[in-house]
Symmetry: D2
Subunit: 336 residues, 4 copies
Amino acid sequence: MIKVGVIGYGYWGPNLVRNFMEAQGSTVVSVCDQRSQRLVQLKTRYPTVKTVDNSSSLFQDPEIDAIVIATPVSSHFELAMAALQADKHVLVEKPLAANSDQATRLVEEAARRNKVLMVDHTFVYTSAVRKIRELITANALGDIYYYDAVRVNLGLFQHDVNVIWDLAIHDLSIMDYVLPSKAIAVSATGISNVPGQPENVAYITLFFEAPQIAHVHVNWLTPVKVRHTLIGGSEKMILYDDLEPSEKVKIYDKGITVSQSPEAVYEMLVSYRSGDMWAPRLDTTEALHREALHFIDCIENNKQPETDGHAGLRLVRIVEAAEKSLRGRGQLVEIE
Amino acid sequence: MIKVGVIGYGYWGPNLVRNFMEAQGSTVVSVCDQRSQRLVQLKTRYPTVKTVDNSSSLFQDPEIDAIVIATPVSSHFELAMAALQADKHVLVEKPLAANSDQATRLVEEAARRNKVLMVDHTFVYTSAVRKIRELITANALGDIYYYDAVRVNLGLFQHDVNVIWDLAIHDLSIMDYVLPSKAIAVSATGISNVPGQPENVAYITLFFEAPQIAHVHVNWLTPVKVRHTLIGGSEKMILYDDLEPSEKVKIYDKGITVSQSPEAVYEMLVSYRSGDMWAPRLDTTEALHREALHFIDCIENNKQPETDGHAGLRLVRIVEAAEKSLRGRGQLVEIE
Amino acid sequence: MIKVGVIGYGYWGPNLVRNFMEAQGSTVVSVCDQRSQRLVQLKTRYPTVKTVDNSSSLFQDPEIDAIVIATPVSSHFELAMAALQADKHVLVEKPLAANSDQATRLVEEAARRNKVLMVDHTFVYTSAVRKIRELITANALGDIYYYDAVRVNLGLFQHDVNVIWDLAIHDLSIMDYVLPSKAIAVSATGISNVPGQPENVAYITLFFEAPQIAHVHVNWLTPVKVRHTLIGGSEKMILYDDLEPSEKVKIYDKGITVSQSPEAVYEMLVSYRSGDMWAPRLDTTEALHREALHFIDCIENNKQPETDGHAGLRLVRIVEAAEKSLRGRGQLVEIE
Amino acid sequence: MIKVGVIGYGYWGPNLVRNFMEAQGSTVVSVCDQRSQRLVQLKTRYPTVKTVDNSSSLFQDPEIDAIVIATPVSSHFELAMAALQADKHVLVEKPLAANSDQATRLVEEAARRNKVLMVDHTFVYTSAVRKIRELITANALGDIYYYDAVRVNLGLFQHDVNVIWDLAIHDLSIMDYVLPSKAIAVSATGISNVPGQPENVAYITLFFEAPQIAHVHVNWLTPVKVRHTLIGGSEKMILYDDLEPSEKVKIYDKGITVSQSPEAVYEMLVSYRSGDMWAPRLDTTEALHREALHFIDCIENNKQPETDGHAGLRLVRIVEAAEKSLRGRGQLVEIE
């Protein structure tokens, strides 16, 4: 039984507490938050859980095996580092850290101490995203042409991080998980419509070695909610709409056929192909439940998480590059 | 009665012929196409119309007042220039010409001869787009924050022009018509997935003097059709979905309110606002019918068209800048 | 080459004329309408077609092989009978006739003279409906549980026939074509909201020998358009949405499994099954084109049409029974 | 502070417990369920709540002011009667009782003891339904023409009650609340596709004094979920789609205008009207929260609930009549 301590009981924390309480193999023994009102709410739900207002008591608690961090981005590094140095396993809410130096140091510290360092890239643990990876891994789509994601709505306007750190990271984590190739450069644009506040709209193009492109559009200020991902391949194409209640992933047997014959030079080179559409049944397991079980499994069996510190670092590097490009109004920035 | 000669009876030509036949104040007297089979098809529909396989006979025909050009882009300049020099009024399918030099020379020639030069930016003549302009002109949206357009589907793969010239020009023409401010710089990215063929995916960001951004996403190779435009303002926001059968334009009384009080510095600066949604009734007039009547009106009353040569030139300049930026992988390019 | 004469050039007539002009194996030689303005419109499109204002000249014309009737329902019997008696093949717009006596006499007359009598149940010739029949015929759905159709919108308010004769007949014709079993009794309800006018809302339940039910909901006065058919079976279920641009037919591997074991008596008898969804590619042939070719084929090869007089008679009998039930406010009426 | 005892902690009970725990003015002191496992689950969430396996101890508990019943329909009467006789206020899950005799006796007992008897017609307390009632009460729709509700999906197959008692009662309760007139007769049809099990499909038509009609379609076995209500009036029409995330209620300024002039007899009597669509902002309060507050208010201030025993009785009478009509295959049955 893995004993978990949770730091941060704001928006996301309650979901983490509930899942580690209910997952077989773990329980939550202690929760830390500086806001006493939040801890009162926790107590009415989970009267047996200890509540503390200082994270250091969690790190010092020998009963605790693992620390789950659900605090603002700026505190991720300090808390995760302290937890690792106290020889705890760590699960950090996305993004892993506020910059790639911090992320690198966390990855190194976890390796040095042989502790599990996992990032809460929740979407990776949804049935929809796992099905997409399964299809791409089985080469069902053929050559990947493009990956296009839109994640917009009238969402919470953040004050400390911009819309890339807040929303685009979800799409980048999905892309990182399902695409076999890694982005090498980025061109990003965006704007802040409220003076003095972070960017609330952003457009990010990612370039790859292969003739392949990816694009992420995020916006905090749209009147309608859109969660739409298109993945085009030479054989098949996917539409992943996270707002669909049941058919979230649709696979289209549509595309083009490029003629290779010499006669085709004088004719139509590209012809269209239209076939069936298919929406596979998706397992209804909650993503966070699957993620909690995976974290427990990695701890117990000394495995590397699917969304480990390296994945967290890769994403922080892309976001850093995207921010730099955005400041340069689309200027190409290579990803380390 | 304006006597019209039409050059090009391929995909779009039949729509132009039908509308100038049916519009009060005009008739089609002659149609030119080099493909005899197309002319046979025309004859079964309109046996009274003359058919020719050479455009010069149209220019020389003293009966003809106006020439309508619906041919590939590469021939626009030569045909439109010849028509103007023959003292005909001219309506050219979009884009006006293959580059801004050509477009400039057409604008100058039309001015010199006091002839109407109009570009077929069809969407400008739809009821939906006119309603959007009406709302923005009446300042119903407040400050414009962003303009975001998506135009994707498994469409015809062009061989001579890329997806920007083919599809993005529609969105750029709508934006040019509805937004009071003009774009000053562009960052574009894109890719060709078929070796040797033009780009089939493109992403274009447009920058303005004001803290305002625009973005156009076009793609020839998506499994589903999307025609989605979001326009965000400080007071209201618009969703324009051209695929909706009746409620194409929805106006949302949603947005944010930014607190100006000194206390707000220490608190939440941005609060959310959610109100009613409203979809105005739209006139069901066909866009091309409205456009044909406008062309006739401009000729008869010596007026400047809403989509005149200057508008056509502005768009060609944006497209040229976008192409240049795309080659530079997002490099910022100023628009002349 | 089958020479066709068309009676009635109102709403539907132009579609019939266009299709018999363009179908290989037929041509339209003569069109009759009492409204001279309609004939003028025809002439601008098809100058070679003869126009007459009296149907008798069509019947007497020895050049004409087949008569296509697209007039109000009340005239169907008289015109179709006259055409048959003039030894012409006949295609009548739905419904075949205004009552079952008339329909029976037409069926008998066609048999006596060995002429093709076909009813224009257009939806039977759509790719969607043919795919549904193909699936049901191959027993892909298992036992049919229910057939539920909704056809509502702010449509043309008819003055001579009610919404059952106008709209429900479309659904009844589809059902007649795709279901192997025939309805034996009907219970219908409805209302007229405009005093002195025919019913504008109707609900029709159909009973079968098997434990199977069908229902049709039609309404001329709804603010949105719905064309939605659900067909439930023990193995699979179909959603047919005629307003979907491409995925009109969706097949769901969903349903229930009924336990037969004795233990199940004390437990859950019915368990749920959820699987993939699949939308087959549909041929894009226009229904009326397919129908025209079928009519020609039946004439040339002396075949029985898929929507022959017997089918037309069956539907008229159902509609008559439904109307009688509606007057009795749901009273059960057996179908002859 | 109203002290609440809850009987039944199955599917719906947890929602009731949560809401009476969180509503200002009430708390849950005791929960009864015969399944010890359910009570264990309750205890992990609410360790302070007493758990009992016998309802009589709740009735005898002098601390308890009100009893909330969330058990199968067959036990509603016995439990509610015992609670009233123990001088407790009562909230019963829908339907109030298994037949109208039982419902009548509960209404009488509550009146005799001056206790609040309320039925949990949850939808009446949604913001959407309250907005619709507000519009109809303000006569915004003009004369009501029809009320059409569809509530279908692959839902839980009940063994003790049919789909009318399970699903249609939701729509009947909404209709009862929003329409000023009451139904006087019913014609219903339906079928059971699983031998020995209750009807899983039903169609119910309701007749009124006025030229107005209502219809409810319910089905446990459809592959897709639909929650669609159309309400047509002479002035405006409503589409209420409960599955829409935000615009659940749309009001269409569409309809017909009936000409009254004598000339119109010879012409078109009915002309169409098409105007704007409008979707009002809806309060996001949870229905059950609003309902809990209303129950508390009725107890504290001796008020009659909006969904009181009389409303519960009216619905049970309609359902009884509908079942009788269904057995008679659509036979008209008057509602008491």
